[in-house]
């Protein structure tokens, strides 16, 4: 199959996903990208976002919080520090995290804490975005 490539997603705990896919969408520090087979070789840093896997006739989504991605023409390898399928996400916790982060941002302190809260908010929003 010419228009398929191998996708591997690995987290420190386990092999998260492995299979033949037609397209992968993910978010890098440079913006959201979609990768088709025969992409130029590329290594990029992942920023929090939704990972969308297009299989033969199916679409799968997962949260992808941090890590990096190595793209070769026939294979994509994502080294994820944190990745979860929608059914593994604790939405109540994510909701709490969102509220906490928003409050902290509303308090409007400058410095490292704001940055941290922004990151936490981003993570929470990614997770909540997968709720159906």
């Amino acid at each position: 199959m010419a228009d398929m490539m191998k996708l591997t997603v690995i987290t420190p705990e386990k092999q998260f996903y492995e299979g033949e896919v037609s397209m992968v969408e993910l978010v890098t520090t440079e913006g959201a990208i979609g990768v088709y087979p025969n992409h130029i070789p590329l290594t990029a840093v992942v920023s929090p976002g939704v990972l969308t896997i297009h299989e033969a006739g199916e679409k799968k989504q997962a949260s992808l919080i941090s890590g990096f991605v190595t793209i070769l023409p026939d294979a994509v390898t994502i080294m994820a520090e944190v990745a979860e399928w929608p059914d593994e996400i604790d939405f109540n916790r994510a909701e709490e995290a969102r509220v906490r982060a928003e409050r902290r941002l509303a308090a409007n302190e400058t410095g490292l804490d704001t940055l941290r809260a922004e990151l936490a908010l981003k993570r929470a929003l990614v997770r909540l975005g997968l709720k159906h």
Binding site: P12, E13, T77
Partner: protein
């Protein structure tokens, strides 16, 4: 010869010790299975990480990077991974010996980042400076723990407090063979990353980096370190349980052997006392008649 009562008491005590060691062996067998599966399932991540980073460094031969060159004068940091509990044979002592036996790691210019109380105490006694103690981590290692430790170490490295970072842990080869290992984490050694197939090299030679190679390296080296530390933690836990299982197995065997010997001694003593009693009775009867 010891009296019957003494032997009996001794036998009872050995028997209960044997029961304890047997139970401990069973417990560590179960724990070993668990920790071993965990260690094995974390391997793909580490291998992939290693492949990526060595490919990057290979083609960035003349890249100047803060993590690639030895820091200025500063102490050497050693992450010593041992256990919080003893009764695991030479497991903890081997790590202490490994660090002490290394001529480059003298007590005067080495800082210990201890994971595991036994190693911390052992090294502290030998005069090593304990910079930080993460002993709780070894009970249930999480990736986040390794990441936190990495951040702290890289901070200290960036401030110039430490010039080199080593990792001392026990490699889990199989259930009976555990090898204490000392690995250099930083500065990253290029020579170590060499063996690869031509095809792979070709494919990676065309690699582009986004935003750029330096920034990606900035990101990946801490992740690489975390994954290495995390992998080492899992290996160490598996080794600890393996070592304890072996130690407890031989302790149980020794207890059984001793019980056998005491059994014979006890029977001799019993026979002796009966013979003596009989002799006394006969002598008494003879004296009367």
């Amino acid at each position: 010869m010891a009296s019957m009562r003494d032997i009996k008491r001794r036998r009872a005590s050995i028997q209960s010790t044997g029961q304890i060691t047997k139970a401990m062996k069973l417990v560590s067998t179960v724990k070993l299975q668990k920790s071993r599966t965990k260690a094995e399932s974390s391997k793909p991540y580490f291998n992939q990480m290693y492949a990526t980073i060595s490919a990057m460094l290979e083609r960035s031969g003349n890249m100047e990077h803060k993590y690639l060159s030895a820091g200025a004068e500063g102490k050497k940091a050693v992450i010593a991974i041992t256990s919080n509990r003893g009764l695991a044979g030479g497991y903890n002592n081997n790590i202490v010996k490994l660090i002490m036996g290394n001529p480059g790691l003298a007590a005067a210019d080495t800082k210990i980042y201890a994971i595991g109380r036994k190693g911390r105490d052992g090294l502290a006694r030998k005069g090593y400076e304990i910079a930080a103690d993460y002993s709780e981590v070894i009970n249930e290692p999480l990736y986040q723990d390794a990441a936190d430790l990495t951040v702290e170490l890289l901070d200290a490295f960036g401030r110039g407090e430490i010039s080199e970072i080593y990792l001392a842990y026990t490699f889990f080869k199989n259930t009976v063979v555990h090898i204490p290992k000392l690995v250099k984490l930083l500065p990253f050694e290029r020579e170590a990353a060499q063996d690869k197939t031509d095809e792979e090299t070709k494919a990676r030679a065309l690699m582009n980096y986004e935003p750029n190679a330096e920034e990606v390296l900035d990101m990946i080296i801490p992740k690489y370190m975390s994954s290495l530390i995390y992998g080492a933690l899992l290996e160490a836990v598996a080794s600890e349980n393996g070592a304890r299982m072996n130690a407890m197995d031989s302790a149980t065997n020794n207890a059984e052997e001793m019980l056998g010997k005491l059994e014979i001694q006890y029977n001799r003593a019993r026979q002796g006392s009966i013979t003596q009693e009989l002799t006394e009775i006969i002598a008494g009867a003879n004296a009367i008649s």
